[in-house]
Structure formats: structure tokens, C-alpha cells
């Protein structure tokens, strides 16, 4: 069953905070939900489907639904695949709408790792009790950055990818971030700035890594009749797919990601190809994360992503594939250490023509958002969403 055309994104809101010293996580959820509903021209009592993840406080959707006074729910989904969950939730919401299980779905994300002083990427930690791989990996200092760095190291070995090429990804993000008043790092940087920043975990420098920020975002997904009755520009869901990739019992191959599978399936459902995409939100926990997805989604041949991203090819108005025009996780924000939500939000802005004028892709009708959740070098998920301005 295809979800092509089954639902529209009718509301989107990104929390402006980057350090939430005055709000709890629950309050942030409420603020982003309210913002997205206002954006759509709806109220909380219109919501009959609710989507969140394990990052939301409480047992699945129960505590947040209670907190926000969502009393009309007839469909809930708290499927958690890390940072890409919110990209995936758009697809799940479209499925639920197509099956008649809900009409208006609310998806929320919020968190405050920065205010809480969390060492997000550099401290080994278990994410839950009884995880069978933890005893074999936590003593080995498996952290977010060491996992992704191992992928980068192998990519360089196999394909000759360079630190300069990876740096271009950060340079492009910073070119966009300078126009975003909310961006944590609005300063334009050069390839040299990236290479001269301290090495965190070879070959990833500090400026190859995303920011740690508070905040969040929310999306409203609705059935076509409702979308057409609202006043916002129409952003149609054309395709959405998810995939996972793991260590394959020790026979893992670090040269590709699950975006290979999720991307192929989403493009098939959307009945478009990578060359049709005018704007792409690409999950940028690290520069290497972007490079892998660009290859695996089919924007560049495997091994040639380095050459593809170099020389400003990701900069809006300059290159062939404008990406992360809000500054992305590398420069703008990475709320709750989960960047999938803001990836969808910026793609919606582009399709509505509401991105910053300096980075708006003229006549943007077809956009993609891709998320990676978990640890790219260990076990991760990918979700790909393709949207069209109608």
C-alpha cells in the first residue's frame, strides 16, 4: 500500500531556544505542539493521532498526551529509531491516515541536553538496561563520536576521501547558518578553520561534529481534504521509507548506510529520482554522516561523495544540491540529540517558500529529508521522506 498522496504536512514549528534553562522537557513539548498547531490553523482538540519517541518523558505517548491535554486520541505511535524517528513518523502518520486510523497527527520532539550538561557524544553510555551488545562495547569506549569516526576512517581508506572534502560539508552549513538568527554557530567558516579545529576522534575535528542544543520541534500531518481546507501552502507526502543496518554478526561493512535501502524504497514510492530533488535536508550529526547519505541516497556514486560535496556544491545558490539551509545540526541546532525533526521542518520551509530569502531555493517543488538514528558504525536506522509542493 503506497502512501503517495495520502497525507500532507500542514503544520511545522521549530522551537527558537537553543538553551532551555527556564523550561522543562514536557513544557518544551507543549510549546512546539502549540506552535505547530497554530502554524496549521488547528487546535489541540483537532489532534486524533500522536507520535513521539522514548526521548519524550514518560511511558510511550501516555504522559505527554496527559500533560498536553490530548483527549481525542485514537492512534498513537512511539516507535523509536533515535534521531531519524521523526522523519519516519511522518510516513507512519501518512499510513495511519490512509487506513482511517486518524485524521490529524501531531509529532513532537523536545529535549534539553545542553542545559542538563550532558556529554552527548564523547562519554560511553548505555541507553537502556539489558542491551546485549553493551558489555562488549561500553568497555571499548564506544561513544557517538568514536562510532562515526570509525566509519570516516574506513571511507578514507577505501575511497581516498579527505578531511578537506569533509570540511566542505561544514563550510556549506555555515554559509547557510549565517542567515539564521537562531543558529548556535552563525559564523562562516573555511575549510582551513575546520582542519585547524582540535581533533576529537581521528579523522573528525571539532568542526566536523554537530552542536549540542536544547529545543525541539513539531509537525502536523493531515489527510488531504483537511489540508486543502487550511490556509497554508500544500506540502504533500510522496514517499517515506525506513531501514536498519547492523553489525551482521561481525561481517559488517562500514562503507554504506541503511539510507541505501530507505532511500531506494522512498524514491520508488515517490516515483521520482535523486536528480529530481531540488533541496535536501541531510542528517548531519557529523560531516561523515552527510557524505554517507549523499552516496547512499544516490546523489553521488559510492566513493565519490567527497568530490561531490567539495567546492560549495551543497551551498544554496552556488551548488547542485542545496542542503540544510537552516545551518543544520552542524551550525544551527540538534535538539535532544535528535536531528530528524528539524530536517523535516527546514524541508517544509523550502517547499512553502518560507526559508530565509538568502538560502531559499527558487521554485522549490520537490524536497527530501533523510535521517540517521543510532550509531552509524554499530547499528543504526535510516528514514527517507520525499515531499512535493502542490
Amino acid at each position: 500500500m503506497s502512501i503517495n498522496g495520502a497525507a500532507y504536512i500542514v503544520g511545522a514549528f521549530e522551537h527558537p531556544t537553543r538553551k532551555a534553562e527556564g523550561q522543562s522537557v514536557a513544557q518544551l513539548h507543549a510549546e512546539v505542539a502549540f506552535g505547530a498547531l497554530q502554524d496549521a490553523g488547528l487546535t489541540k482538540d483537532d489532534v486524533d493521532g500522536f507520535f513521539c519517541t522514548g526521548a519524550a518523558p514518560g511511558l510511550g505517548p501516555l504522559n505527554m498526551a496527559d500533560y498536553m491535554g490530548l483527549t481525542k486520541l485514537r492512534h498513537v505511535d512511539s516507535t523509536d529509531m533515535g534521531g531519524c524517528s521523526y522523519v519516519m513518523h511522518v510516513g507512519h502518520a501518512a499510513q495511519a491516515i490512509k487506513e482511517g486510523r486518524c485524521n490529524i497527527a501531531l509529532i513532537t520532539l523536545a529535549g534539553r541536553p545542553r542545559a542538563e550538561g550532558m556529554a552527548t557524544g564523547t562519554v560511553p553510555r548505555s541507553w537502556a538496561p539489558n542491551i546485549p551488545d553493551d558489555p562488549f562495547e561500553i568497555p571499548m569506549a564506544r561513544t557517538v563520536v568514536t562510532s562515526y569516526a570509525n566509519v570516516a576512517s574506513r571511507h578514507m581508506y577505501e575511497y581516498g576521501t579527505t578531511s578537506e572534502q569533509l570540511a566542505w560539508i561544514k563550510v556549506a552549513a555555515s554559509q547557510h547558518a549565517q542567515h539564521n538568527p537562531h543558529a548556535m554557530l552563525p559564523k562562516v567558516v573555511t575549510v582551513e578553520d575546520v582542519l585547524n579545529s582540535p581533533m576529537v576522534a581521528d579523522p573528525l575535528h571539532r568542526l566536523d561534529c554537530c552542536v549540542i542544543s536544547d529545543g525541539g520541534g513539531a509537525l502536523i500531518v493531515a489527510r488531504p481534504e483537511i489540508a486543502k481546507s487550511l490556509k497554508r501552502p500544500l506540502v504533500k507526502v510522496l514517499g517515506c521509507a525506513e531501514a536498519t543496518k547492523n553489525q551482521a554478526a561481525g561481517y559488517l561493512d562500514l562503507t554504506y548506510s541503511a539510507a541505501r535501502q530507505s532511500g531506494a524504497a522512498a524514491f520508488e514510492e515517490a516515483r521520482v529520482t535523486p536528480k529530481d530533488i531540488q533541496y535536501a535536508s541531510i542528517y548531519d550529526s557529523f560531516t561523515i554522516t552527510v557524505l554517507m547519505q549523499i552516496e547512499d541516497l544516490g546523489f553521488a556514486e559510492k566513493g565519490k561523495g567527497g568530490a561531490f560535496v567539495a567546492d560549495g556544491n551543497l551551498i544554496s545558490g552556488v551548488g547542485k544540491l542545496p542542503f540544510n539551509t537552516d545551518g543544520g545540526g552542524l551550525c544551527n541546532n540538534h535538539p535532544a540529540n535528535r536531528g530528524g525533526m528539524t530536517k523535516v521542518i527546514e524541508a517544509v520551509r523550502q517547499l512553502r517558500g518560507e526559508a530565509h530569502p538568502k538560502v531559499q531555493v527558487p521554485g522549490c517543488r520537490l524536497a527530501l529529508a533523510n535521517g540517521i538514528g543510532g550509531l552509524l558504525g554499530h547499528r543504526h536506522g535510516s528514514a527517507t521522506l520525499i515531499m512535493e509542493r502542490e
Binding site: 546485549p132 553493551d134 562488549f136 568497555p139 568514536t146 574506513r154 579523522p203 561481525g250
Partner: protein, 132 residues
Amino acid sequence: MATQAANRAIPAPKEDPTTKPFWDAAREGRFLIGLCKDTGKHFWYPRGCSPFTLSNNVELVEAKGTGTIYSFTVMRSKEPHAPAYVELDEGPRIFTNIVDCDLDALKIGQKVKLVFKPTEEGGAPVPMFTPA
């Protein structure tokens, strides 16, 4: 440039009923890996099912403790260390650390050999590797 691997404090692995034999052997200096008896293939990490067939027809067998570096990073913290994937001669690639060496001299494809490293609070030692 040379960066000597730090002798960092390693958190003890949390043992569970399924993998207790692995950790018991580690305490005796023996390095075990999983073997699927349905397919004859080795696997990592040890578990109570075959990741190839899902049956519980598995056992732990002693590995040679030799391999090559498949990928690695050097964590440039106060205690530099090198989380890496090592491809065992038996086949599986395992997430481990390269220890007791100059971390700036490491290369993918380099041959390495097993060294057990003690863990905090009297935990079982964990399998790490050093240049052969």
C-alpha cells in the same frame, strides 16, 4: 608525533546468564567467539542464538586472537585511546581497542594480536589488541 595509548580505567562489562561462560574464560585468559553449528560460521558478539539461523545451536569456541585492523579512531582525550574494528582471522570484525602502542603509527590493514585488559572493580578482563 607520537601518542602513547593511555592505560585508562576500563568499566567492567556487565555479565548476564547467557554470556557468563565467555567472561569466565576471559578470566582464565581464553578468548572465545561464537560458532553457529548449523552453518559452521563464527560470529561476534557472543549470544544465545545464531545470528545466521536464529536457532540456539551455538557454542563458544576459542579464537586464535590474531587479526588485522579494519578501521580505527584515536580519541584525543586526556587519556588517548583507539576504539577500532579488528577483523579476526576467523572472519568476524569485532569492536575493540588498540592498546600498548603509539597510536599515531596505527594503520588500517595492520596485523594485531590479542591482549586482555583488566577492568574496574574486579570485573572480567576485556579483549583488546596490540600491534603484532
